[in-house]
Structures are given as C-alpha cells and as structure tokens.
C-alpha cells in the first residue's frame, strides 16, 4: 500500500514536470515575446533589448524554466511579464469565477450524464447502438457551436437570458445567476454526452453480470437491483469519468469564457497566451493539470476502495 502510494506520487510529480515543461516549450515556440507585446511594436531595438533584460527574457529558455520551477517549490508563482503583478494574485482573483462556472456546469452535467448512461446501458440491444451514437455525436459538437446555438435561441429569439456574462462588480458571481445559465449549459451538454458514451458501456457490462441476472431472477425489485448490485460496480468508472470530465471542462471553459466575455481562468489563459505572458500561462495550465491529476488520483483511490472484489483483501 505504502509502495503504491509512493509510486502514485512519483508518477504525479513526473506528469507535473512534463506538463509544465511542455506548456513552457509551446509558449516559447510562439513568435514574438512579452517585451514586444509590452512595447506595442513602437520601441527601438535598444529599448527592446533593455526591456528584455529587465524582464529576464535575455536568459536562455531552459534557465528561465528552471528558475520558474525553483520559485514554485518555494511557493512563488512569479510576476506577470505584462502587468508586473504577482501571478498568484491574478490567478486567485479569477479562481472563484471559474469554479462557480464549472461547478454549475458539473451540477447540470453529472445527473444528465448518469441518466443518459443508464438509458444507453440498459436499452434493448436494438436501441443501444443508435443511443450510443447519439451520445458520441453530441459529445463531438464543439462548445462554440453549443454556445452560439444557445445564444441564438435564448437571447436573440426568446430574449430570456443575456448573451454576455459579465461578472458582477462586487460579491459572488452567483449573486445574479442569470448570466451563468448559458455558459454552464454550453459546457455541460457535450461533457454529459461524452461521459454518457464512456459510462454506457460500463452499465451494459454490469447489468449482464451473473449476480445481477441472478438478482433479477430472484425477483428483487428493479431499484434494489440497481442500488445494491449495479451501482457499486459503477462507482470506480464513474469517478474516473468525472475526473476526466472536470479536466475537460476546465479546458472547454477557456473557449466558453472567451465567447461570453466571462473573466475567469480560461479567459486569463487565452489572453496571456496572446501577450506571451509565460508565467501566467504556466500558472493556469499547471493548475488545470493539477486538477486533473488530483481528480484521477481520487478516482483511483475510490476505485480501489469500492471495488467489490477487492474487499477483504490487503
């Protein structure tokens, strides 16, 4: 058990370094840099060189990456190259907005996903194929399309909800929930379909297991079969799918936040890539990676704890 924990932690650490190096390298490969972005193309070569020196951009990329990593070990996420503000503060002021949005999206997506998975998994063989195909189809529609469609229907035609989602000037983003509806739905629909597609198979496999058939044959009521004989087998895959979905939601939030003008982490990420603000890009990307890693770890742990066959062992 202890060994497994160490291995899991090492794996997470390696993944973390790999992700951060990959993001850093990718940002580095983009043309132009923060010094050029700050001077708006109106500086002399001399001024640019001075600016790069001031921002530390004159050092080779690998050294900048290592000093970023070293800073992070000391709990310092660095300073933005564009705004001169601490990265931690910039991320922290956006965290509530994105957590609220993805939370709302999850609150819609999870029940929808479980319901659809149940429908797909328990459907008669004739219907299972088309239903699974429908789920895959919906999952494949990009959030942009969902967002645009929702705006057309609920804002332009019906006029029920605003097509932009500005944060309230003060207080919680939940203070006025109306602006959250459309972005949450745009995030939730494809995520639910994606999860349903993955879980549908697990449901189908479980209901075919001998002990379930046995229980049905013994004449137990359907809901008891579902709760006692099927659900325990679904906990682990559900947790894994949820971890994946949460990660995917964070990534999709970037697109949806931009479309609705919602100032969350996704919007920060996209804008910072535009201004080549590497420390900010790194911070947001790493935060998303950590969320996915943590989610997967929790899912693995849940899987180990709830696996009905593992009970009584180790």
């Amino acid at each position: 058990m202890a060994r497994a924990l160490v291995v899991a932690m090492l794996r997470a650490l390696l993944l973390f370094v790999a992700v951060s190096a990959l993001v850093f390298g990718a940002t580095e490969l983009l043309p132009s840099d923060a010094a050029e972005s700050r001077t708006g193309g109106r500086a002399t070569a001399e001024q640019l060189a001075q600016m790069r020196e001031g921002l530390g951009l004159d050092r080779p990329a690998w050294r900048r990456y290592l000093s970023w990593l070293a800073g992070l070990c000391h709990g310092d996420a660095g300073t933005s190259l564009v705004t001169d503000r601490p990265v931690a503060a910039m991320v922290a002021e956006r965290l509530p907005a994105t957590l609220t949005l993805t939370g709302c999206a999850l609150a819609v997506a999870v029940p929808l996903m479980l319901l659809s998975a149940w429908l797909v998994g328990t459907a008669s063989p004739r219907w299972r194929g088309p239903l699974a195909a429908l789920a895959t189809g919906v999952a494949a529609v990009p959030q942009v399309v969902f967002a645009a469609g929702l705006v057309v229907v609920f804002s332009a035609v019906l006029g029920w909800l605003p097509p932009v989602s500005l944060l309230p000037a003060e207080g919680s983003p939940l203070a006025d929930p109306r602006p959250l509806v459309l972005p949450s739905l745009a995030l939730a629909a494809p995520a639910a379909a994606f999860g349903a597609g993955l879980l549908g198979g697990a449901v189908a496999d479980t209901v075919r297991r001998p002990h379930v058939r046995d229980a049905v044959a013994r004449g137990l009521p359907r809901h008891r079969v579902a709760a006692r004989h099927v659900a325990p087998f679904l906990l682990a895959p559900t947790a894994r799918v949820l971890a994946l979905t949460a990660g995917a939601l964070l990534a999709a939030a970037a697109v949806v936040e931009m479309m609705f003008g919602y100032a969350g982490l996704g919007e920060l990420l996209v804008s910072s890539i535009g201004t080549r603000d590497t420390p900010v890009v790194q911070a947001v990307a790493v935060l998303a990676a950590v969320a996915v890693l943590a989610g997967t770890a929790v899912a693995d742990a849940l899987g180990a704890l709830t696996d009905p066959y593992a009970r009584g062992r180790s």
Binding site: P31, S32, E36, S37, R38, T39, G40, G41, R42, A43, T44, Q47, L48, Q50, M51, V82, T83, D84, R85, P86, A89, M90, E93, R94, A97, S155, P162, P163, V164, L166, L167, P168, A169, E170, P179, F260, G261, A263, G264, E267, L268, S271, S272, I273, G274, T275, D277, V280
Partner: protein, 504 residues
C-alpha cells in the same frame, strides 16, 4: 371586506417612498441611478496599476483618469485645459518652462500634492519611454527641478512651444517615492478606488476633489475586449455605457428609443502604409498612383458604414494645425494608370497587402482596397495576419500593410513615426529638411504662425509620403437613453468621464 386598511397602507407606503425620495441628497433613494456602469475596451488579463508605462487598455486609461489628477487635458479645438497645473510659462528660448500647480490639493490619504510629486511622476513616465512611445522624450529630465512647493521647472532638449499639449492627458500624478504597483496607488483625482475584481473596478466620488462635484456617486468600469459583447452589455441592461462599438451594431439599434449613440468624430483611421525605402514604393509616381486609385467614398461606406469622413491623405485631420485649404484628392484611374506606365509598370504590378482583425473593419478595408487597385491594373494579394503578432511582426516592418491611428495629435504622430529618430518610422519618411522645418516650427512662439508652419509639413507628407488616408471613422459609444455628458472630443478626451450623468 373593509377596503380602508388597504388604502391606508398604500398611502403610508407612498409617503415613505416620497420621504425617501426627498431625503438627503437623493443618493439613498436610487442607488441604481447613482452608479454608472461603464464597459470599456480592454482585456481584463492585462489590467495594470502602473499609470506611467504603456496603457494598452482603454479601461485602464479611463480608471487612471478618474483616480489621478493630470497636469492638463485636451479641451475643445485643440486648446489645452489646465487641471492640476494652473499655468505654463516659457522663457525667451522656449526651452525652460515654469509650471505652477493648484494649491491645497490633497491625495485621498490626506497628504498634500506637491511639485515634487508631479516631477516624480513625470520622471517615471520619461523613464518608461519604451512602453509609452516616448511620450515625454522632448524633456531633459535631469535638468528639471522643483522650484517651490507648487512650482516646478521643466527643460526641453530643444525649443518646444507645445509643452502644454505634451503634458495633456497621461501625466497622472502619484505620491513621490511610490515603488509598489501591484495594487492601486493613491491618487488625488475626482474618484477613488473602493473595490473590484478581475473584470471590474469600483470607484466612488472623492468629495475632497478640487474640481466641480461630479454628478455620479459611483462608477463601475468593466473591461470587455469584444465590441459585440460590449454592445450587448448595454442592450441587455447589464451596463449603461459601452465604449467603441461596431458600426454594424449602431445601424442595428438605431431607432431604439431606449438607446443612444455618441459619435466621437475622427478617431479611427486604418491608413494603408507604404515604405518609401522599398520597391516599388520608392518611386513617388507609384505612391501617387495608389493614392489616386482609392475609391474613398466606397471605403468609408463599407468599412465604417458611413459613420465617418472621406480622407484626404492627411494623417491628423482633427488636429487644429491640419491645413484646411488642401483640395480633396479624388479617384482618377486614368491618371493612376498613366503614372504607373511612366514608372515602368505599364503591363501590371503585383503587390502583397497585409491586414489583420485587431480593429473591426481592418480586413474589409484591405480586401476592398485590393479590388479598387485591381481596377487600376495593380494585382494585390491580401494576407490576413493573426492579431496577436501583427503589431510586432508586420506593423512597421512590411512594405505594404494596413495601419492604425486613434485620433492622436500631429506632434505625437511626428514623434512616434515621422521624425528621423522616431522609434518606428514606419514609412521610412527620412527627410532631414522636413525634420529641420519641424523643429523650426516648434520654436515659433505665436500659435497661429506655428500652426501654419506645422500645416505645411503635413501637406508635404500628404503629397509625397507613404500613407493612404482614405477616411476616418467616428468613435461610436452606445449608451442607455438616460446617460448624458459623455465626452465626444477626439483622442484622450474620451477618458475623462467624471461629468457623465445618469437620468435627466
């Protein structure tokens, strides 16, 4: 049922509401009416608290203009309107300027605003030249000094008659010795910062400000990068003012009685820029042919949807020194073809024109212009470049591209892109005689005479330079019907919104 109690209750409620409406200064009665919600152009991710470097977001500029006093601001007809400064007095040679400041002004933390604070701020702006386009490069800041508590002396590197204009707008004064800019810095302006988050700044009236009491108690500034989203914020009632919306939106909402449009004339310009040191633009005949091939009316009608004016290749038509007696250049395809033939391009000329989508309509302008040039026998291939690298990799580098100017004064344009030592001389306009004439004009004390001399310079640039200025678009702000007093002057004037009023 006895109806009396109901009526009595209604009467009481009415009296209470009436009393609340009359009580105090009315602030408590209609808190919503006392908060102006202003949606400005800006990327929330790049919001800054340093008012002296590069200010790329209009949302930041507007916030700074409310939080800090400036020495002066642009007034109507190019006249400088003093703010913190009360007078600007030059010496005989126009190189040493004595600037007197208003007395009894305090920062919101109670400290007095002194000449030392102003000089500290000006020196910071000067030192950050790389970020603010060399805004105060005309000064020798080492020679500047504090003369008294409220008097300072600035020295220019050459005779410079336009010092008051150079000190307009961006000269935000903060306390001497400030070093931390990761949070809002204390100011002495008409408003002070009381809160906000990633997207918003919340400001409240500074009741100790020296100027006329601003009519609105509270202003919320939101940064929204997308023009369509800004407009939607006002249309859907989430905001009272949206700055810089698309012409298409204006056309769409015209006739809606709940909304108003404020036109700021001549603030958007997408000139086509030709580099004079590259072929074929090094030949003046080619440049003239290209200018003659432009159908300016069509460009203004299709790019700005008519919300603008036809251009005459003058870069700063709204500047008071812009020459008024220059005949309008009109389309003349025959003459354009003849010039091209003379220049050796009788059997055609192939060009590549770069553009981007940074500002609405830039790409349309390039595509349309390419078609118009085609009618003059010039084959143009338009390349649409990504906006995030356009201003660093294409702008001021390529030999033919779509530029941008936002209604800045002629002396600023000269400093950043025309003089020989300009940081980005984008057209390679390198004429020692023109530079000399510019500095000679700047040494003329008499305003009318100086403006005439500056006008002559602009005329030469119009005839021989590398800018095709086909038109200028209006700045278009969308407001709810109850907003009044929004500034409508060119350039930085639009940042000063402390006189905006809600309701009546």
């Amino acid at each position: 049922m006895n109806p009396l109690p109901v009526r009595f209750g209604a009467l009481c409620l009415g009296l209470v509401l009436l009393a609340a409406g009359c009580g105090g200064d009315g602030d408590a009665a209609s808190p919503a009416g006392q908060t102006l919600r202003y949606v400005a152009v800006g990327a929330p991710a790049t919001a800054i608290h340093d008012p002296h470097g590069g200010i790329g977001n209009q949302s930041d500029l507007t916030r700074f203009a409310l939080l800090y006093d400036v020495l002066a601001k642009p007034g109507p007809n190019g006249v400088t309107e003093p703010r913190l400064a009360t007078s600007f007095e030059p010496d005989e040679k126009l190189t040493t300027w004595t600037i007197r400041l208003r007395q009894g002004v305090t920062f919101t933390d109670g400290r007095p605003v002194r000449a030392a604070d102003a000089l500290f701020s000006l020196r910071r702006i000067h030192a950050k030249a790389a970020e603010n386009f060399g805004r105060l490069q005309m000064f020798d800041m080492d020679a500047a000094r504090v003369v008294g508590d409220h008097t300072l002396e600035l020295v220019t590197t050459r005779p410079y008659a336009e010092v008051p204009r150079a000190l307009e707008s961006m000269t935000f004064v903060i306390p001497e010795g400030t070093t931390a800019f990761d949070k809002p810095v204390v100011g002495s302006g008409p408003y002070r910062m009381v809160g906000g988050n990633a997207q918003n700044a919340v400001l409240e009236r500074n009741d100790r400000w020296w100027g006329a009491k601003p009519p609105t108690r509270r202003i919320e500034i939101r940064a929204v990068p997308d023009p369509q989203a800004r407009a939607q914020a006002v249309i859907s009632g989430q905001a009272d003012v949206a700055s810089s919306v698309n012409p298409a939106t204006v056309r769409q909402v015209s006739g809606d009685r709940n909304l108003k449009i404020v036109h700021r004339p001549a603030v958007t310009m997408y000139p086509f820029v030709m580099r004079l040191d590259r072929e074929p633009f090094d030949d003046p005949r080619v440049r003239e042919a290209i200018k003659l091939a432009a159908d300016r009316r069509e460009l203004v009608d299709k790019v700005f949807l008519g919300y603008g004016k036809v251009g005459n290749d003058l870069l700063t038509p709204a500047d008071p020194s812009s020459p008024a007696d220059v005949p309008q250049r009109t389309r003349d395809l025959a003459r354009a073809k003849e010039l091209l033939r003379q220049a050796g391009h009788g059997d055609g000329l192939e060009l590549k024109l770069a553009t981007t989508t940074s500002y609405p309509g830039m790409d349309t302008a390039a595509t349309l212009f390419a078609r118009q040039l085609g009618q003059a026998g010039i084959t143009v291939r338009v390349t649409n470049e990504p906006p995030d690298t356009y201003w660093t990799k294409v702008f001021a580098q390529r030999d033919f591209y779509t530029g941008f100017f936002g209604g800045i004064p002629f002396i600023d344009v000269a400093r950043v892109s025309l003089l020989g030592d300009a940081p980005t001389n984008e057209t390679a306009w390198k004429r020692p005689d023109w530079d000399a004439a510019h500095w000679k004009a700047m040494a003329i004390r008499d305003e009318a005479e100086r403006r005439r001399a500056l006008g002559t310079l602009q005329r030469e640039l119009r005839d021989e330079g590398g800018y095709v200025v086909w038109g200028v678009g209006d700045g278009l702000d969308l407001t709810s019907a109850q907003v009044s007093g929004l500034p409508d002057g060119p350039g930085f004037d639009s940042a000063f919104i402390e006189r905006v009023r809600l309701g009546g």
